[in-house]
């Protein structure tokens, strides 16, 4: 009798605390989602509705704002610019960092630790700190107003973190494989190209996904290096659009929604890679 009463009380207590847990989590879910939902709702309203009924469900939804933006060539130019920069930066980061991480994880030479520490110095400060000095060098090289400058600088600032992540992954691949490959007559490059890289595909997609997001969202580099509007990337263009059409809140909301959509779709597909990349080192051992 008392045992069941006790048991019942324990169950009740657990249900209560579960309920409380869910309550808190749902509140935070709302805090995260409501701003995004308000944005999307705003995008689907006319300018007049935005002022009279700013937070209601758009009824009926007006797609004209999207049409207006998508029919401007400037949006497509920005999209293309952003894609170009993102793809180039991501491919460069993958190539450069996997080569270097392979050397650090698999080969031995004098001064290895010193070089590794040097290349991971970039972890100590983000690009914001160095943007002024970097700008001066880019200006000296006469690379301002080029996408090349954005790509090179984004890549340079991605090196430290990604070498670190890939180094960890590469070290986890059993050495026996390397020995076997050498016995079969592979050289270091064969091993890297035919065995290590295919095995490290999850790591490469993690690094790739993180780099894509960082490059796609980057504002500072294009802001500082580029002022020709035909070269603007989406974040830079979005900021300028907001400055220019700030009064037409519905139109701005549509623009922001359109520039957020690719990111959110990408996130839903690549969440696993992003998460594994970010937590790579935190899951030590």
């Amino acid at each position: 009798m008392t045992v069941t009463a006790q048991h019942r009380r324990a169950v009740l207590k657990r249900t209560l605390s579960r309920g409380l847990q869910y309550l808190v989590l749902v509140i935070f879910t709302l805090i995260v989602l409501v701003p995004i939902v308000i944005l999307v709702f705003g995008a689907l309203k006319t300018r007049g509705e935005m002022y009279s009924l700013p937070y209601t469900i758009p009824n009926p939804p007006h797609w004209e704002n999207f049409g207006k933006i998508l029919s401007q060539s400037s949006f497509w130019t920005m999209l293309r610019n952003s894609l170009l920069v993102m793809v180039s930066t991501t491919l460069s980061v993958l190539a450069i960092c996997s080569l270097a991480a392979f050397v650090f994880a698999r080969l031995n030479f004098k001064g290895k630790n010193l070089l590794f520490n040097f290349l991971t110095l970039g972890l100590m400060f983000p690009i914001t700190v160095a943007i002024m000095p970097v700008f001066l060098v880019i200006r000296e090289m006469q690379l301002t107003n080029t996408h090349l400058a954005v790509i090179l600088v984004q890549t340079a600032f991605q090196i430290s973190g990604n070498i670190m992540i890939l180094h960890g992954f590469f070290q986890a691949i059993p050495t026996e494989l390397q020995d076997a490959a050498y016995i079969d007559g592979c050289n270091a490059f064969d091993f890297f190209w035919r065995i290590l890289l295919p095995l490290a595909r999850p790591a490469l997609s993690a690094v790739g996904a993180l780099t894509m997001i960082a490059s796609w969202n980057d504002l500072l580099t294009p802001l500082v290096f580029i002022d020709k509007d035909v070269l603007w990337t989406l974040p830079l263009g979005t900021m300028q659009f907001q400055g220019q059409y700030g009064q037409d809140l519905a139109l701005v909301a549509a623009f922001v929604t359109l520039s957020a959509v690719p990111t959110l779709i990408f996130y839903l597909f690549a969440e696993r890679q992003i998460v594994s990349g970010l937590t790579a080192g935190a899951l030590k051992g």
Partner: protein
């Protein structure tokens, strides 16, 4: 997280054999490291070294830097009240992050725990703001903080519950806390994600043993879970501090450092002088001061607190 990580496993065997292939390996090493070293040196190290030189000039970018002023720029920065406000605001964001944002993330991570049904759903939602760009985040929140309750959602809520609408970003005292709210909205998911990953690594048996020994939930969290998470916490603290000290995008989009420097941080100060006024020498000096502050913090932190397990890329 199906990727195995065994950092120091099986290290020696293969490496010894490789020494016999020295010549070929040397070429491989040089060729493989060259791109990384070249880019890193040219676009990261060299600019910083070069700016040590430029920082000693009064230079407006027209023509070469000729007006040498020695350490004058640095003296001026350190005696500029606005710069000190920027440092103070940065430190305030650091303090708020460490006392509010990280504990919140930790509490949510513990709440979601390891097996709460729907944990992946919550993780997906909470992490979403992190992948949105700062531009998008900033514009969304500019709208939410609109001082007019007819347009700003937060003021509409305040009016709904019978409070006065606030000016928020236009108010000297409210602007910085508002920026902090947005920073928290954007970044708590990242820290929560790291904490969740850390929790995954703590053997469940330890907490169960504590429970059998009669510890209550709070005691378990305090004496078992948090100490075992200390590696992840150190990483989070590091990312949080460096991120707060170098914050630029959100502040620039939402307030440009205003009103009356109320949200000025070091990076907006640098941008204003370096890029808007185009005082290149002075801007370089500000960049170096920021860099020095970051480096000193990093070195002291790594020395005192032991290296974090992982330093993020941003």
């Amino acid at each position: 997280m199906d990727i195995p990580i065994a950092r120091h496993a099986l290290k020696s065997g293969g490496e010894k054999r490789q020494t016999s292939r020295k010549g070929q390996n040397r070429l491989t090493i040089i060729l493989f490291l060259l791109p990384a070293l070249a880019l890193f040196t040219v676009f990261l190290i060299y600019p910083i070294v070069r700016s040590v030189y430029f920082s000693q000039f009064d230079w407006n970018g027209l023509g070469p830097a000729v007006k040498y002023v020695g350490l004058e720029n640095f003296k001026r920065i350190l005696s500029d009240k606005i710069f000190m406000t920027a440092v103070k605001n940065g430190l305030l964001i650091v303090v708020l992050s460490l006392t509010l944002q990280l504990p919140l993330s930790l509490a949510l991570a513990i709440m979601v725990g390891r097996e709460l049904p729907g944990r992946v759903f919550f993780r997906t939602i909470f992490f979403m703001p992190y992948v949105l760009s700062e531009v998008i985040t900033g514009i969304i929140w500019l709208g939410l903080f609109n001082p007019d309750p007819e347009r700003g959602f937060i003021n509409a809520l305040l009016v709904l519950i019978g409070l006065q609408p606030q000016t928020f970003l236009g108010n000297i005292n409210q602007a910085l806390p508002c920026i902090f709210v947005v920073l928290t909205w954007k970044y708590f998911g990242l820290h929560m994600l790291l904490f969740m990953a850390g929790l995954q690594n703590i053997p469940k048996e330890l907490e169960e043993a504590a429970r059998i020994d009669g510890a209550n939930s709070w005691q378990i969290i305090k004496n078992v879970t948090i100490p075992l998470l200390s590696g992840t916490i150190r990483t989070s603290v590091y990312l949080s501090v460096v991120g707060a000290l170098t914050q630029f995008n959100l502040v620039w989009i939402m307030t440009k450092g205003g009103p009356v420097n109320a949200t000025e941080v070091m990076a907006t100060y640098m941008y204003r002088y370096g890029f808007v006024r185009f005082w290149l020498g002075y801007g370089s000096a500000v960049a170096l001061v920021m860099l020095l502050i970051c480096l000193i913090f990093s070195i002291v932190y790594l020395k005192l607190v032991r290296p974090p397990d992982y330093l993020g890329t941003y």
